[in-house]
């Protein structure tokens, strides 16, 4: 399993280089790094599968003494570990740059460093999006096809969430019971509680996602 993770690292050295350089630049220019974090992590998913699809490497992997469950687990661990490390790097970059306001482009007073709760919440959202996305890659075995589906799913789920939050103001989804909206709004307004629940939910989603991906990987023909 370590070998599989090492392989993903070797393939994505350039990605890590861009993260290393890119994240401080994003903070200096005061872009919205938390959104960028999600994009970068989902981008990593595309990257690892793209390299594999381009040369049908899965055929070779399956022919080697590597268990299919380990191959799938290794990829899940690699991506989630990378996401956690990236988030730590985002946090570190943010707190370092906060101490050097003269390098910030624009108004330094408007600079918003990443808070711990913001970081953890972003990680949970990313994990849930990863859990939704990864099985598509194992099902379609095409990085481009999966990226399109992934894009559609992420867009629709974000849209649904925004509509839901603003359902009353927009005058839609009038049939949703008040208690349900109140429950959801409770989590939106209490990030600390959401973080606790978020951890359990995101890990559960990743586990379920792994089960589905493993099934696709072992029951479908390798293209």
């Amino acid at each position: 399993m370590v070998q599989m993770m090492k392989r993903d690292y070797m393939l994505n050295k350039i990605y890590f280089f861009f993260i290393l350089i890119g994240v401080p630049i994003l903070y200096i220019f005061q872009y919205i790094p938390t959104t960028m974090f999600i994009v970068m992590t989902l981008g990593l998913v595309f990257n690892v599968f793209f390299y594999e699809d381009r040369n049908h490497v899965t055929r070779a992997i399956i022919s080697m003494p590597v268990s299919t469950s380990q191959a799938v687990v290794a990829r899940y661990i690699f991506i989630t570990l990378t996401a956690v490390c990236n988030m730590m790097y985002f946090a570190a970059s943010s707190s370092i740059i906060k101490h050097y306001p003269n390098i910030i482009v624009g108004n330094p007073a408007s600079f918003q460093p990443l808070t711990i709760s913001q970081g953890i919440l972003t990680l949970h959202i990313t994990f849930i999006l990863l859990a939704i996305s990864l099985p598509f890659y194992y099902y379609f075995q095409s990085a481009y096809k999966s990226l399109i589906i992934q894009g559609i799913v992420v867009f629709l789920s974000t849209l649904a969430f925004i509509i839901f939050i603003n359902s009353r103001a927009l005058g839609v989804l009038a049939n949703i019971p008040d208690w349900f909206i109140a429950k959801v709004m409770f989590f939106v307004e209490n990030p600390n509680i959401t973080i606790g629940f978020g951890f359990v939910i995101s890990i559960a989603c990743l586990y379920l996602s792994y089960i589905i991906s493993f099934r696709f990987f072992t029951k479908r023909d390798i293209i």
Binding site: Q3, M10, H56, R59, A60, M64, V66
Partner: protein
């Protein structure tokens, strides 16, 4: 003992299907897997390696299920292309692959690397077809596998390296318990080195026999057209009829033709003859 056993394996694909495929690969020999393009050779190999899922039936490798990943420690594979990350170099590939095999032999790897004259730090995407095949072979052989599976390894290779490859394979056969399964439609290669032949056509096994048996039993019979009538046609596995005469593939004892032997020419059938006539019943 058999290294591989297929028992009534079936697989349906979009425009191709394999039904009731049963054959075995004996231990300690080179088995050639022949058949025209699109006959099911690659599909069979991919099912054996668990790349393609079988619909029904059973495949055994080393007496255990082909899904057992541990048995792949004993298997070296060379496919029709190098399925590896094209941005990798041989150095990176080795860093990834070598630790996966318990029997990795670094000295052997270095000697093949030198023998094949492959660049250690050049990206695979800059390799020629021949270099890719050599690279595939390098990794297939360096862990000293007991069983080597090769899918069209000589396709696209220059004649010099093709001959070298066959020499390497023959050299390997001096090792105890070494088994090679080689699929090819270039039958000349197999005429030279194979001990057993499995012939597949349209997803069905038409023949499984030793080379000795094939050389003794199968003959090409040539003669004038007037000797070919409905009765004689039935004697042949396949025949080709033209204005200058006929030629046909015959299996069995040639004494049957003793009465007309002065009017016929008999030759030993090559594997190419067999593919040709067994896939064409009569032209």
């Amino acid at each position: 003992m058999n290294i591989v056993e297929f028992h009534n394996v079936a697989k349906k694909r979009k425009d191709f299907s394999i039904e009731n495929l049963s054959f075995s690969i004996p231990n300690g020999y080179i088995t050639g897997f022949i058949g025209p393009n699109g006959s099911g050779k690659t599909t069979t190999i991919q099912m054996m390696m668990d790349i393609l899922q079988i619909d029904t039936g059973d495949i055994k490798l080393f007496g255990t299920s082909h899904k057992n990943y541990r048995i792949k420690q004993k298997i070296g594979f060379v496919y029709d292309d190098l399925y590896m990350y094209e941005d990798f170099t041989i150095k990176k590939m080795k860093a990834f692959i070598a630790p996966l095999y318990e029997t990795w032999n670094e000295t052997l790897f270095q000697s093949y690397l030198k023998k094949f004259q492959l660049p250690f730090t050049k990206k695979l995407k800059h390799f020629s077809k021949g270099m890719k095949m050599k690279c595939s072979l390098l990794f297939a052989l360096s862990h000293e596998p007991e069983f080597i599976i090769m899918d069209e390894p000589t396709a696209g290779l220059d004649p010099i390296f093709r001959r070298e490859l066959l020499d390497i394979l023959q050299e390997m056969m001096t090792r105890e318990n070494q088994t090679i399964f080689l699929s090819s439609h270039i039958t000349n290669d197999l005429d030279r080195i194979a001990d057993y032949i499995i012939f597949i056509h349209e997803g069905k096994i038409l023949l499984q026999a030793s080379m000795e048996e094939i050389q003794e039993q199968y003959h090409i019979v040539k003669g004038e057209r007037n000797l070919l009538d409905a009765d004689t046609k039935r004697l042949f596995i396949g025949f080709q009829d033209s204005t200058v005469g006929f030629q046909a593939l015959y299996r069995g004892d040639l004494t049957l033709f003793d009465d007309v032997s002065d009017q016929l020419i008999f030759e030993k059938a090559t594997l190419e003859d067999m593919i040709y006539f067994m896939t064409r019943k009569g032209i």
